[in-house]
Symmetry: D3
Amino acid sequence: MSRPRILVINPNSNTTVTKGLEDALKPLNFADGPEIACTTLAEGPYGIESQADVDSVAMPLRRLIESDNSASAFVIACYSDPGLHVCREGTDRPVFGIAECGVLTAMTRAETFGVIAIAQRSIRRHIRYLRQMGLMDRLAGERPLNMSVAETASGEGTLAKMIEVGRALKEEDGAGAIVMGCAGMARLRRGLEDALQIPVIDPTQAATAMALGTVQLSRN
Amino acid sequence: MSRPRILVINPNSNTTVTKGLEDALKPLNFADGPEIACTTLAEGPYGIESQADVDSVAMPLRRLIESDNSASAFVIACYSDPGLHVCREGTDRPVFGIAECGVLTAMTRAETFGVIAIAQRSIRRHIRYLRQMGLMDRLAGERPLNMSVAETASGEGTLAKMIEVGRALKEEDGAGAIVMGCAGMARLRRGLEDALQIPVIDPTQAATAMALGTVQLSRN
Amino acid sequence: MSRPRILVINPNSNTTVTKGLEDALKPLNFADGPEIACTTLAEGPYGIESQADVDSVAMPLRRLIESDNSASAFVIACYSDPGLHVCREGTDRPVFGIAECGVLTAMTRAETFGVIAIAQRSIRRHIRYLRQMGLMDRLAGERPLNMSVAETASGEGTLAKMIEVGRALKEEDGAGAIVMGCAGMARLRRGLEDALQIPVIDPTQAATAMALGTVQLSRN
Amino acid sequence: MSRPRILVINPNSNTTVTKGLEDALKPLNFADGPEIACTTLAEGPYGIESQADVDSVAMPLRRLIESDNSASAFVIACYSDPGLHVCREGTDRPVFGIAECGVLTAMTRAETFGVIAIAQRSIRRHIRYLRQMGLMDRLAGERPLNMSVAETASGEGTLAKMIEVGRALKEEDGAGAIVMGCAGMARLRRGLEDALQIPVIDPTQAATAMALGTVQLSRN
Amino acid sequence: MSRPRILVINPNSNTTVTKGLEDALKPLNFADGPEIACTTLAEGPYGIESQADVDSVAMPLRRLIESDNSASAFVIACYSDPGLHVCREGTDRPVFGIAECGVLTAMTRAETFGVIAIAQRSIRRHIRYLRQMGLMDRLAGERPLNMSVAETASGEGTLAKMIEVGRALKEEDGAGAIVMGCAGMARLRRGLEDALQIPVIDPTQAATAMALGTVQLSRN
Amino acid sequence: MSRPRILVINPNSNTTVTKGLEDALKPLNFADGPEIACTTLAEGPYGIESQADVDSVAMPLRRLIESDNSASAFVIACYSDPGLHVCREGTDRPVFGIAECGVLTAMTRAETFGVIAIAQRSIRRHIRYLRQMGLMDRLAGERPLNMSVAETASGEGTLAKMIEVGRALKEEDGAGAIVMGCAGMARLRRGLEDALQIPVIDPTQAATAMALGTVQLSRN
């Protein structure tokens, strides 16, 4: 009997990000569990930064999911959860959004969570989404890195900046756990957690773990 | 290198329940993943039904967790999440409550969730806890089976009654997913889901899947 | 000096609906006020019923708005407020959604409002949106007509059914005002209000009135 | 056929304020629309600053409204919405409060709104009212000018102070739109909006626009 | 040293009601505690049933309180808490409203409370007030007696009707405690509590007990 | 006929604290009212500071209450309300928690309340409890003294520090009343209130006053 497959979709067309997701999810790719496969949405923009970026990938994600016959569950790997509801409408198979799962997972680790956003402009969209999910009571705060995506991709400076922002979330806003508000930062998770000494959640990992449980348990 | 271990604790002293947990969690016991071990709280009452039952196991659970040196994470497998906060205070290792994780997992599957409680008297305690978690906005309703624990343990009649109550939650209260509000009913999950045609969450499975993700990802 | 223009966009491609909007908005087309112009989104589906319908018009609406140089404000005339945030991102001119304005206007008339939806399946989407707007505290209830769009378009039977549903919202759910949860029902507003004896809000009219105020006042 | 009339009531006895309202509402006085008439509550105090001022005009406003036979709708033009509910009880004609309409209108323009109050002491009353309306989730903050009414009336210094306070609401509290928390400041609206580069709502204008829509649409 | 005095004000002019308050509060009139004095607001209507009744007594209550030099605290004994905020503004001495204290006291006795209103029309006003106080999360429901004040005053039939309504609040709405939503029903409290077997709160007694504590403790 | 008795239980084993409670409650010990008796929970820790301290006294409190035949009501005199629900389950007699009553009493005195905690680490537990009670909408803020229990017990320095923290709650957080978040500080209440010029609530006094009313009124 073949392994079921969880398809993790990077809605932007930057394959370096997809490769990073693959690396980040390797620990969940158990030999006797579901296969974790990552794919890139060809039609996606190079990065998802604006509301237009978010909305422009909703229908392409829906089509990708509808045309896929092999996956048992899907993960949409962008912290704005683009197309989540339209994808859910299009399939009976479970679809997980990383923002939703990242936040819900943080809530199992602390009374309140803080979010590190890449850019200031995303914060209103994120807050609107938290309100939509009915989860505002547990938000300590959200703060931006204010770096370009290119800068965040480059390395060490990013970790230092994340620690600075994470520390403000912890110490000034009272966050008990941190959600990394971006799909491409899993490699910094441990360093950030070590520095802050509170749980740090990579949302793609969190969503894929929830997908893993759902898929694996529905077989039995 | 040895496998990390997730310790799932049945806070009641009924070893049949513990055995049922083991069966329910087997699918998550990946050969190359953390070991899922189940244990019984010797000091626990035979069943956890009252607030006194809940509160009486809090400190024993804390002591069990503090005296354990081998687990990387803990799951408290009772739908009242007894001792959750006092256990978290006593260790740096993650502690998951099945009510918390069951509800949060249901929120990834539907707009609103319904809960099936064993007994009417538990519902106020559960609602108080949902309010504590700040999750009332997503609750469709909670309804009791009104069966004794002995009756629920016996079999077919339980599934029929769960389907009846689940249908009321779905059709009258508008629930889009169902949480089974008890640790010992995983074996009925699939039958209930097939009958209701909406996602049904076994909370112990949901919590253990979240623990699995957390443990596995913190190693890497 | 030419009159400023408010562009009311019917996001479905059914021009009969657009014609109905024109009729419904004539009273707001003051000779010495902004011109109220209605247009049809050519790319829209024939009716907007599913989440896919909603999401598929978001980017076309954005492009229509960005390519328009003559309007001073826009109204998106579909009760799901498709593309509202992406359109707002794309212009400095105000963009109004009829669901948002319909509900906010109802809140000026009564403690609580009820919503009449065309179809049961839309209600979860509407509730999710109310939660996003932070307006759930004032909702008395939402109930569906459970008619096809074709049936609702045909006439008298629709009014009778709306009165029946409106009465349930008023008497069983305690609604103090009713929002018609669809763009194409303005012609039934007065009949429904006369029957129910509580305020009935046509959302397109409500949104266009708010747009009118905004445009007219920003000139002075 | 004669034009219907919207009666805008200044609940304080300062006729300069009433004259200012007339000026501010002229753009909404369409030749083929309802007449916008402003009147002064003779029994009102010279300014409404305290809770006693607010409560002392409630019954006089009710009497004014009950004794008026010619208006189709009423606007109570004080940012504390004095007597709003008792006036609504006294007539079947719509009664609009400017605080309510100002805030609701701001919610069509931005995720969150900030309020500029004249005096610190009014803020608790305003917050209590926002809680009563169920609208706290969208409040970014409220900050006082801390000027006397005489000072605010005098001119340029007022605009400079409003810009300073508005900037704090925008930049420190994250407000996406500003509500001017007073009936007499419409003349500063545009200057404030130009300086802040986010929508600024004059509440009397907002309420009168909503009244205009309601009256005009109920005729047809 | 003379006893401090708590002045309980009946805002309606029905002295039979005032006499009933005196009887109901006798148990709190400790020889070595504050004197509990009851008075009638001469300007009040014969009964407070409408919003106009509520608002018309606000300023007379303020004047009564401001002209009183002998009381250490005040209780406004009408379940609409008329004039509560304007009275508080007018004195540094504590002013208690019976609706506020009745509900807060019920919250010490049960997870959720139900309210028995005299008339259907009052319920919206009461709900609006609960929202203002931020206490809706604990409301199980409010139901009317639908009796005239004259009928409720007459006796046995009132208790039977209250038991019927209280039972619906307990059994259908899930109320864990009942607040009697009227100032004049203390004599029925025990009978209702005996019948329902859940705590029943007379709001005037609750408010006066809180006033008693406040006054007595501020002396020491 | 003998006086009914209210049993105030100090859940820590420090009899100096119990003695302080006795002093603080003397004003409520009316000759013709219920007797106020204070007792020490022998099994309690010397102070209640951690979650373990809180949870370890729950069942001992339950046993104390169940074995007591003479009290008509109980007050649990620790600001974490340990064992409140399990005690309520174990008796039909009313059980009051001082945190609950302290906060509810503060809500009768001001729009928003602030809490002074002894230690930073308690604040999350207190906030979680406020969320459980559904009272977060009225919280202005909570701030810690950051003194050891020994230091707070010693005297003048404590008052000075409380005034400093209380001033921050009033001036920066906007608190309109202060709750002293500890059972042993009643002696400082008046000094703090005089300094801050807003109501200061000692929670044990507040709870005992509510118990007094409940007991006294149920006799009549």
